[in-house]
């Protein structure tokens, strides 16, 4: 079974799906992501599906599950790059993907993650605001005080 690699980018996780997804690969990705969100403290997950040529009900459910579980672990998920033919097919299949945030491409997806994270007062990726002291890092105010 092939595994989908999960990359860390600042405090976001980046998943670019480049393989033909069989069901066990889908389940493994879900588990890997849950573990990585916790171990890295990631606040955002970006899933790039621009190379994915079909999304059936099993794969579609994965997006909804990842969105739900990341929320439980205090992170947000954005799915980017869905092909038009895939979107048309998903609608006809009857899968609405309620609760799954989407964006047209990686850049816009990162923008969404940053905006969400700003609202919480925490930085994502390399968008560190100079005025903010990252609370989880370096053991507190010593550096700035």
């Amino acid at each position: 079974m092939e595994r989908v690699p999960v990359l860390s980018l600042g405090d976001a996780l980046l998943v670019s799906i480049q393989v033909d997804l069989q069901d066990n690969t889908v389940l493994a990705l879900q588990e890997d992501l849950a573990e990585r969100i916790v171990s890295t403290g990631a606040r955002g997950v970006l899933i790039d599906i621009s190379a994915v040529d079909i999304v059936d009900s099993f794969i579609g459910r994965m997006f909804a599950s990842i969105a739900a579980l990341s929320r439980l672990l205090d992170a947000e998920t954005v799915v980017v790059g869905m092909r038009p033919a895939v979107a048309i097919t998903l609608v006809e299949l009857g899968l609405s993907l309620d609760g799954v945030r989407t964006a047209l491409d990686v850049e816009r997806g990162m923008k969404i993650l940053r905006a969400l994270s700003d609202r919480r007062g925490l930085p994502v990726a390399d968008e560190l605001d100079d005025d903010l002291v990252p609370v989880a890092e370096g053991g507190g105010p010593a550096a700035g005080a």
């Binding site: 033909d20 069989q22 069901d23 009900s57 033919a85 048309i88 006809e92 009857g94």
Partner: protein, 136 residues
Amino acid sequence: MTTSTGVEELPIRTGDDVVRVRQLVRARAQEVRLSLVDQTKLVTAASELARNTLVHGGSGTATVETLTRDGRSGIRAVFADEGPGIPDVDQALTPGWTSGSGLGLGLSGARKLVDEFAIDTAVGRGTTVTVVKWTR
């Protein structure tokens, strides 16, 4: 009159087999120049039906062939298993109904995504689902 060429059969015993079925259906759909949207619909239907053959039927086969009729081409895909069969086909075709832990959208969704759809099933004997998608 409908003529059929290039019959190919694949086993469905593992998740990787389901991926191979998708790839074969995609290749054949491209060969007859189905539009990209129609290819995507057919491959998605095939993915759902191949998974059903594996998960509900236990294992089985997919048979793919190219059809021609009145100057149009099409792809027929047949998913066959000798599993438990479907006791109530109407119920199984109800969107959202599942006997297991799925979403219950595979069978109903596959029917919407293709031009022709037929189920032949008998309890204790097995299930065969046939789909066809034609060029426009």
